[in-house]
Amino acid sequence: MSILLDKAFIHNLSVLLEKSLTEVASTLGISVTRKDLISHEDFSDAVICSIGITGAFNGNLVIILSQSAACQLVSKMAGEAYTEVSDDVLDGCRELANMAAGVVMMGLSQQLCEVNIGLPTSLRGHTMHVRLNPIDKYVHQQYSTTIGDIELILVSRENESRIHEQSASNTTDAPKDALNSLLDKMKQNPS
């Protein structure tokens, strides 16, 4: 069922968004403090991660952090030092977005608001800009953390079409084929 993105619901999203970062950060031993004022930076030297949300409403969770913060984050995750933004660092940042979106999804589910999350994406660059559609509603938060500043944006738009077929549309013959292949192997090499 789609929901109305009224002021109360947007406030609710804001609370969940804050919870998402604090919860993920605490498992990694990173302390975070929310900033009262949003400073409008140009996101130069940044890593941007995004993950799609569909269901009761549609949207994206976007996380922006400096390349230095991204390296420190992934160093903590993997237990080994990363000093420049490699594929591994981008991978770890995607996982950050995945986990944060998971916390938001769980919180919404406990309020009987069901959403699904997609596969996260991440990219790095200089002088990147995040453009928001003026008709979308969004929550924008900035945090000071022990690995550097982190910015979160949760973009949301009402879902009138009540899309619930996401998982069905992803269905392929891959599981069936893989299972058949597994069965063939077991026949050739029984225990």
Binding site: T27, A78, M99, G102, E114, L119, A174, P175, L179, M186
Partner: protein, 129 residues
């Protein structure tokens, strides 16, 4: 000593999990798979040696729920201990996973602490299965 198969599309997440396993004192060989299809291939090649599978849910090509569902349909593999390690932590998703594989050995929701994962894997690996 049985092997552990870690299935996750994030290489960093696999590293995190392996690090926790090692810090918990388990020296089992670890196999890795970056999606469900590769997991099935690895299980096909090593099923007699695998004692535990840690499996993510959302992955490209073939999801974790499809992997555990496929294993449940093969009697020889149905009792392989599988712990889901995933962001899909809603009650509905946990029910869906248990429906796909009634023998699911555990469910860990991301983000998780090392202690949470350890308490799930300890009883399984301590048995030496």
């Amino acid at each position: 000593m049985k092997k552990i198969l870690v299935v996750d599309d994030s290489g960093i997440q696999r590293k995190m999990i392996i690090q926790i396993i090692r810090k918990a004192g388990f020296q089992n060989d670890v196999l890795e798979a970056s999606d469900g299809e590769k997991a099935i291939e690895s299980i096909g090649n090593n099923y007699q040696d695998i004692g535990l599978i840690l499996c993510d849910w959302i992955m490209s090509r073939m999801s974790g729920i499809e992997v555990v569902g496929a294993l449940a349909k093969i009697p020889l593999l149905a009792k392989l201990p599988v712990i889901m390690v995933t962001t899909e932590g809603t009650e509905a998703k946990i029910k869906e996973a248990k429906l796909a594989n009634a023998n699911l050995a555990g469910y860990v929701t991301k983000p998780f602490t090392p202690e949470r994962l350890k308490e799930m894997i300890n009883p399984i690996l301590a048995k030496g299965e």
